[in-house]
Structure formats: C-alpha cells, structure tokens
C-alpha cells in the first residue's frame, strides 16, 4: 500500500440546490506537491474546506496517515497537522510578523508573552524552511510575497505537515512566484506535503508531482504531471479543447487614436512615477505594456482616464486634448476602462449586476429620463449583455458580490465594450481567472481590435502580453524603454528589458 498522508475518499458535499462535490477522491502522498486543478466554481475550495473542517461532507471518508478521522472544525484539522493558507490573508496589519505567527499560540513566561523566545523560534523556523522574513517588521510595511511567507510560517509554527495553498500565486508578481516555487520545493525536502489549489497550468507543470482534476463538482481523475502536458490538463479541466495561442489575424493599424507626449504623473505621495512618457495606440491594434508592477503603469492609466492629475505633458484622443479632464468627460470622449482592481473600481459590489452595467451611463437615455431611472430599460439592457457576454448569474437582480470573479470580469467587459468606445484600456483583464474565461476575454479584445478599436493592454503576465499584443511597449521606471513586436523577441529578452537592461542587447526597433 502506498504511503498516503491525506486521503479523501468519495467525498460528497451538497448545498441547497447544488452538489458542490460529487464522489471526489483525493489522495496525497507524503512529501509531494499535489495540484488540485479546476475552473472557478468547480468545487476546489469546497473540497478543501471539507478537509479543513469548515464544512461537513454528506458522504465519504477522510483518512490522515491511514487513520480514519472526523474533522469537525479547523482546530481538529490543526491538531492533525493540516494547515491552510487562504487566498486572502488572515493577518493583523498592525502587528509584527512574530506577533502574527504566534497569535493564539503564544509562548509565555510568568503569564506574559515571551517575545524574545517567540522571535527566536520564528527565526529558526524561517531559516529551517528557507522562508525569509523579518520577525520584527510590521505586516502593513512588508510586501505581499512576504505576507504570504508569514502565512506559511503561521501554519508551520502550529506544526502543520500538510499545507493547503489556495491560489497562492494569484496575488504575486513574477519574481515572487519564482521565490514561492523555491520555497515549496524546500518545504517538501523537509517532509512537508503540499496541496496546491490553482488553475495555472504552467505552475503545475513546473512544481507539482501529481494533479487531481475536478470539473463541475465531479472528480475527473488524478494524473502524474511528468506524464502529461498543459493541453491535456486544460482539456481535462474545461471538458473541451482549449486554445492557448489565441487565433488572430494580422493587425491593420490605422490612424492614431491615443497619443501621449512627454507625460509626467506623480503618485499619491507626490513621487514622480511617470517620467516624460510617449506612447501611441492606433485604431485596429493592441498595444501591450509589459513591465514589472510598480513602474508607473497604474499612474499612467489613471492619468489617461482622469482619475489622477498629470503634472505635465499631453494626452490626445482622436486629436482632441483630454489631458486632466474629469473621468466623466474622458468616458464621454470615447474611452473605456477595464480596471485592474475590479472590486475596488470596477463594480459596486452591493449593487445588482444590472445596475452595475449602467455605472457610467445611468443618467443617459434610455436608462433615465428627467432624472428618473427607468429600471425596466436598465434591466432589459442588462439581460441583453448577460446573454451576449455569457455572464453566469442567477439573475440580473443578483448582487455583483455574489458572482464569481470570472463572471464579474465578464460583466465589466460587457459594460465597457458595449459602450462602443474608440479606446479600450484593459488593465490585468484576466487576473485570477481560469483558462475558459481568459480565452473568452482574449477573444473579445481581439474582436474589438478587428472592429477598429484601439486597445491598450497592461499586464504583468508575459504570456498574455506576447499572445495578444500587436506591439509591445516595455515600461520601466516611468518610461517606455523599448517598443518591440512580439514576433521579434522571446520571453527571456522581454524579461531583461522589463528589468531595465538596455534594448541594444536585443536589437529592438
């Protein structure tokens, strides 16, 4: 018999109206990285919440190290050595790293917290597993990558032997992802087993030993990663063939729609972030801005869309000056914006999805007349868009909050594209989405390009940039340092440019 550390056998979990998990079997070997792959809403999180004791299964058996267990709540899971790192971190921002790690499990001396010993323990733990952290730093002062390491240390501090990582790379930059992969590898060397919840095939191919696929609540099976390829995994997950390389015709760029000259923008702390940038986007082409997060991309987009004042320079849309206009004026001039943070900017989560679809146009006919809203027309419009863009929602009256990330994004794209703008700004349009939704969104953007729209794409995913762009503008330290065509550069070269190396090395224009 094989040495399984975790076995979930024929798990069934129902919610009113749906079967979230139906006879799913997951067997994790000691010391392996086991991927749990599935689309958004396939039932991955439900299955893990069953393992972590947050839900009780209707049917099935859980065994830890061959012994049948009954995990009634997360404390039981902790005692069994199961630790979970959630996608959204559970950290106290104003506490230090050490305080967060020991929270609820503090070493004491005379009834007081022995902070010295705690810091020593945290340091030992972090050295043993190669998780670099500063024990005395405040959570609010450290990077997202380091916060994640704190979360992992928290579980290890509690004696976890099996780590569940829920979409750990969704919030990380490419560099941080690399570091995380190194960490995962050193963890399994120390005998820790890892369950990695993800829908990123590349990561699975890179670090995982085996992969269990679930689709629409059903267990599809477990494969050895060494014996499979991304295409097979994707079709197992989605249930049909998936195209990674988005099919597209040669671009036919026409007149310039957006032209930016010598733009300078400061961030909220008044630090210059965009430093004399020039950029042009033509009708009928997709210009992708490649760059590491924090090189002025956000400020650039905010300046174009009127969310942030620019200090100097000029932004022209169809030969009309839109520099420092209000967001409403910019929108009316023909700019659509798919924002990077869809929860913060893209949606009013507590509004019904139908009302979200008129967020910029609510005051115009036919949605309003004489200042009074016509809900009939608003929801009629929503129904059309929901159908056309395949937004999966129980109804147009459902609150945006209740939709999955992919469907929220589809709703935003429906709204932004439907306005029929001249320029579409798409910032990280597929962040955190599964391959099915990514494919849909990529096709939509190309479709709009082919209709003669100008598309400005900002993404931290090199794949996406390489795949979609007709022209790649590399942004580094507030300026465009190189403009290349995707055919004449590979990912390594692009990576070098993004890191600030000179473009002479690559050839370029």
């Amino acid at each position: 018999m094989e040495n399984f550390v975790i076995e979930m056998l024929d798990i069934r979990k129902e919610f009113p109206g749906i079967v979230a998990n139906n006879n799913i079997t997951l067997q994790v070997k000691q010391g392996e990285i086991h991927a749990l792959l599935g689309e958004n809403g396939a039932g991955k999180s439900t299955l893990m919440n069953v393992l972590f004791g947050l839900y009780q299964p209707e049917k099935g058996e859980i065994r830890v190290k061959g012994k049948k267990v009954n995990i009634t709540d997360p404390n039981v899971a902790n005692d069994l050595g199961i630790g979970m790192v959630h996608q959204h971190f559970m950290l106290v921002d104003t506490f230090t790293v050490t305080q967060n790690i020991i929270l609820g499990n503090e070493p004491r001396k005379f009834g007081m917290i022995d902070m010295k010993r705690a810091e020593k323990e945290v340091l030992e733990l972090s050295e043993r597993y190669g998780l670099k952290v500063d024990p005395q730093a405040k959570i609010s002062d450290i990077s997202v990558g380091m916060q994640q390491r704190v979360e992992i240390l928290k579980t290890l501090y509690r004696g976890a032997e099996v780590l569940i990582l829920d979409e750990p790379t969704a919030v990380l930059t490419p560099q941080e992802i690399k570091e995380l992969i190194t960490i995962m590898k050193s963890l399994i060397k120390e005998g820790i087993s890892i369950i990695l919840i993800t829908h990123k095939l590349k990561e699975i191919m890179e670090v995982c030993d085996r992969c269990t696929v679930i689709r629409k609540g059903e267990g599809i099976g477990t494969v050895n990663v060494s014996e499979t390829n991304p295409n097979e995994l994707a079709s197992l997950m989605v249930g049909r063939e998936v195209n990674f390389k988005t099919e597209k015709k040669q671009a036919e760029p026409k007149h310039a729609v957006l032209s930016i000259t010598d733009l300078r923008v400061h961030d909220a702390r008044n630090v210059p972030m965009v430093k004399g940038l020039n950029l042009e986007v033509k009708a009928g082409e997709i210009v992708g801005i490649a760059g590491v997060d924090g090189n002025g991309q956000s400020e650039l987009i905010e300046a174009i869309t009127g969310l942030r004042a620019s200090e100097a320079g000029r932004i022209m849309l169809n030969e009309k000056d839109i520099t420092n206009l209000t967001p409403r004026k910019v929108t009316q001039s023909g700019v659509s914006h798919i924002p990077q943070d869809r929860h913060k900017f893209g949606l009013v989560l507590d509004f019904p999805i139908g009302e979200n679809m008129v967020l910029q146009t609510y005051y115009q006919q036919p949605f309003a007349k004489g200042g009074v809203l016509s809900f009939k027309n608003v929801y009629q419009h929503a129904r059309t868009l929901i159908q056309e863009y395949d937004v999966r929602t129980p109804s147009e009256y459902t609150k945006a909050r209740a939709l999955s990330g992919g469907n929220q994004q589809k709703a935003i794209i429906a709204r932004e594209v439907d306005r029929s703008p001249d320029l579409i700004i798409a910032a990280q349009p597929t962040r955190g989405l599964d391959v099915g939704a990514i494919e849909f969104i990529h096709n939509k953007l190309i479709e709009e390009r082919d209709k003669g729209k100008a598309v400005l794409l900002v993404s931290f995913e090199l794949d996406e940039i390489m795949n979609l762009s007709d022209k790649i503008a590399v942004m580094f330290d507030g300026d465009i340092v190189a403009t290349v065509e995707p055919g004449e550069i590979n990912e390594q070269e692009l990576g070098l440019l993004m890191a600030g190396s000179k473009k002479e090395k690559v050839g370029g224009e």
Partner: protein
Amino acid sequence: MLSTRMINLIVPIISVVLGLLAGAIIMLIFGYNPIAGYIALWNGAFGNVYFFGETIRQITPYILTGLAVAFAFRSGLFNIGAEGQVIVGWLASVWVGASIQAPTIIHLPLTIIAAALAGALWGFLPGLLKAKRGVHEVIITIMMNYIALHVANYLIRNVLTDKSDSTAPIENTASLASEWLMEITGYSRMHYGILIALFAAVIMWFLLEKTTIGYELRAVGYNQHASNYAGMNVGKNIILAMMISGGFAGLAGAMEGLGTFGYMSANSSFTNLGFDGIAVALLGGNTALGSVIAAFLFGILKIGALNMPTSAGVPSELVEIDIALIIYFVASSYIIRWTLLRFFKKEEK
C-alpha cells in the same frame, strides 16, 4: 420551508415578544406586576384618544430624524448631527413663524422651508469638510450639535427676545396645529406634521430608489472608488447627502416649533430627537419605510411608558430599562433570524 417573506414577517414579531418577556422578567425580579405594567404601557399609548394623539405627535419628529440619519447612512455617511440640525431647524421655523406677517398659504410653507434650509446648512458644513479635506463627519457633526445648542440659546436670549428664556409664540398663519385634530383627540397636541413626515418618507424613498441622484448617492455610499471611476463627483454627492439629511432633521425641528410647541425655549440640554433618530434609522434598516415603522415603535414606547409609573407603580428607572430591552431585542433581530433559519434547515433534513 418558510418563505423569506414569512421570515421577514415573523422575525420582528418574535423579537418584540422576546423583548416584552425580558422586560417582564426584570419587573418580576423587582417585585412588580408585569401584566399590569404592560397594560399601562398599552393604555398609555392607545388607551384613549388623548394618548393616541400624543403618540402620533411623538412619532412625527422621530420619523423625520430617522429619515435624516437613514438617508446619510445610505450615502455612506454617519450623521450624528441630526440633533443640532433639529435645533437649528426648530429655531429657524420659530423665527420665521413669529417675525413675518403673511397668509397661511405663504407663511406656513416659508417657515417649513426655512427649517429645512437651516438643517441643510448645518449638514452642509460637515459635508464640505468631509468632501474637501477628508475630515470625518462624525467628529464635525458632534461638534456642530454643541454649536447649534449654544448658538440657539444665545439667539433666543439676546436677539429674538430681551433676556427671556423662550421666544414669542408663532403667528397662527405659520402653525401646524389644528383645532380639529386637537378636538377629536381630547385636546392632545397632535398636529398636521404627521402628514409632512409621511410625505417626507415617500420623498426619500423616491429620491433614493428611483432617481439618478439617488443612484449616485447609493453608489458613493457603497464604493467611492468605483463611483469616481464611473465619473461621478464624489465630493459633490457627499455634500448633497449631508444637506438632504440635514434638511430632514431640520424639518423635525419645525414639527416641534410649528406643531407641538409654537415657540422655542432655551435648552440646557439636547432634545434627544436627533440621537433617537440614529436608533430609529438603524432599527428601520436605513430605509424610508423601515424608519417610519421604527418611529412608530419608538413613539409608542416613549409615550406609553409615561403611564407605567402612575398606573402600574413601576418606577420610571425600571420603565427605561424595559423600553431599552424591547429595543435591544428588536435591534438584535438578526440573531433571531439566524436561529430561525438554522432551526428550519435542520428540520428539513
């Protein structure tokens, strides 16, 4: 399975019953007869036409202060300043009511508008500071309450009168009081204000739920970033929300000035109408209809309770505890709802 509608109906009833039970236990512990106590409460609110009239009179300003707080809340603002807005509204209504001579058809609307404008002005300042400088509205509105109280007292003593503690009575042409309403309610102080309050509730509902202004206010209330992204002027909406909120509270002041009293006295302390409005709004789930219903509950308890010490001998301190308990249980109806849902879910299996 209980339908959501049934649960929405059952929960408030259960919570009131639980509140009454808890109050009964307290009365029993201290040796008073809870049944007699509650009969006194009922009679105090509805026992005869006079009490009924007084209850309606009390409900009137509660509706308006409840609307004021609820309106701000729906726009993402916490208006603690309804109290001060009531005071300035009261003062403005009495001032205009006593100092101008005009026929009712002009005079009465003018005084009411003056009260609403005064309240709106008192809401404008915190709104402006919040919108332009990001100062938290709770702090400013609390301060504005004290300013209103003491400025009103100064004006009453030094400007409106010569060192007197209360203003001259308003002209009859500015009065909301009605011979007829008083007569049929055994000479209670019930006045036409209740119609204004109910109309204001309709206005709030329509403005918030049906108009583009309301759409913007609600959007700003939920998510300022998304509102800004969508091209709404967040600052303008904050100021507008505070002004409309203050306007409702100012009207509550007019109810006292033009309806109940017909004058204004210098106050050593707050009227509490504005502060009770916070509870009314929260109890009513920050909706217009909810605020009206909650105002009825508050008004009934407040007036009915006056009868408990005299008719049932329950000391007024204990009465206050009782009333607090009932409100507490209604406010925590969330727990009751949760228990109900859990209970029925279990049963289904």
